[in-house]
Amino acid sequence: MKNYQLAAKDLETFFERILSSNLKLVAPVSTTQHIANLKSKTQILFKEIPTKEDIKKIISDTYTDMSAKEVFFPQSEPVIEYTHKKGGAVDIKDVEPTLKETVLFGSRPCDAFGFSLLEKLFSWDYDDPFFLKRRDKTTVISMGCTSPLESCFCTSVGLSPMSNIGSDILFTPVDNGERYLIEVVTPRGEKLIETINGAVTSTTTRQSIFTDGNTLVQNKNILEGKVKEQMKRKEDFKDISDILKDKFDDSQLESETYRCLGCGVCSMVCPTCHCFDIVDEGESSHGYRMKNWDSCSFALFTKHGGGHNPRDLQFKRCRQRYMHKLHYYREKFADALCVGCGRCVRACPVNLDIYSVVYNLKKAYANKKKDNKDNDNV
């Protein structure tokens, strides 16, 4: 893994070179609607940066409201186009996802790890071409966190504010933001560095903007230790799998999630939620088969044709959310399907907080274990 460094002032040049190398750039920007100066809620979302002038809109070190999974797993996309012919025949065509070499800048280490979790799911025995082709065309450049939010808990699921798993390149602002340590993690990242070095923009000549970064690795590790220390939420959830297995029918899980209203906000903002619905849209003569995001908190998610619904009450749907993320996925793929980004905690209209629910479950499990031990000894 090669290390480079980039002076903070050269970040804009870096973006310019990406654009001039005919790459699509996606980065966090603030999107406040301003039509007839009617302001709507300020949001920070991943958007395409089409031209040089838009580069200054990029916010390089921020927390987005929606995760970046949309770059690989759009909220809705057609997978087949069908056309009814006379005489009952039907003609179907694959819909090719529009692909362009893309650079995704500004995802967080937790988001990036989320992409690797999604990749495992979307290539589990059957390869989903829509996700895999898009992921294959994208270079993920993540930005290490120096000031995590109160709701962040990435260390609880085995990650760190500066872990580089899932990213092709990891930027980390060191020397209080003076310069970035650039860890090139994958060959795809290396390829991007070469194209960037090769690209010439109007302002600078061919000379590379990167210099050797090995000297900064030490600063980064110190910084990483400090940032981890500052995090407010540090409970370790590594053995949460067996706690949840034991808690399936426990009323505590029901009382903890009693206030859930069953909206799908948590699944939509989450970087690792991947459940989707398949519906036909358009007229019956011609239309598209769509793959749209779905959520396990919706009532229809598991409703059978005959009317039976295994998860008829809301707490059973919350249970499915926690079980799938922290138990079922872990049993099949060794990692939890939760990266501790805290988006669902921030977006939930009734402040349902996965961290505190799991924390309480863990505490109750520990107490119960202690009581059993006391009974054995007595």
Binding site: S76, E77, P78, T98, E281, G282, G287, Y288, M290
Partner: protein, 152 residues
């Protein structure tokens, strides 16, 4: 208006969908036919038991499927076969028309009317009027721009 939209509007034939109650307006339209009253052929009539049964998502669906104008018509207050269907409808349509206007849909594209079974002539003039108004407005580009999904 540059000239392309102008001539687009010249030979533009609006598609008008009419939701009508079967007891009065449908019979009125039938009377217009039997009395050989000439009126714009752009209208397509959908028969429903009462204006009280005409739900707002019918109207939205009509616009979605490409209608340029919608007429909703039924019995005059007091004539309703179900006594109060049109009274409820009256309030519902008043609010719906205001909401559509607020959402930016030109109110000439959505016309409510009472046409009794004897008013074949009124039905004819109503359809002509709405067709001309909508022809003047041109195709309902705004609503047609609402695609099912982004890339479509």
């Amino acid at each position: 208006m540059n000239n392309t939209t102008n001539n687009k509007k010249e030979n533009f034939e609006p598609r008008i969908i009419a939701f009508v109650c079967q007891w009065c307006t449908y019979t009125g339209a039938d009377l217009a036919g039997t009395s050989r009253i000439q009126y714009a052929p752009n209208v397509r009539i959908i028969k429903l038991p009462c204006t009280g049964r005409i739900d707002v998502h019918f109207i939205l669906k009509a616009f979605e499927q490409g209608a340029d104008g919608v007429i909703v018509s039924g019995c005059h207050p007091g004539d309703c076969h179900y006594t109060s269907g049109n009274y409820y409808a009256r309030r519902r349509f008043e609010m719906f028309k205001k909401m559509m206007g607020f959402l930016g849909i030109d109110d000439k594209r959505l016309q409510f009317a009472w046409v009794s079974a004897a008013e074949g002539r009124k039905w004819g003039t109503l359809v002509d009027e709405v067709t001309n108004n909508v022809r003047a407005l041109g195709p309902f580009e705004d609503y047609k721009s609402l695609k099912i999904f982004q890339a479509e």
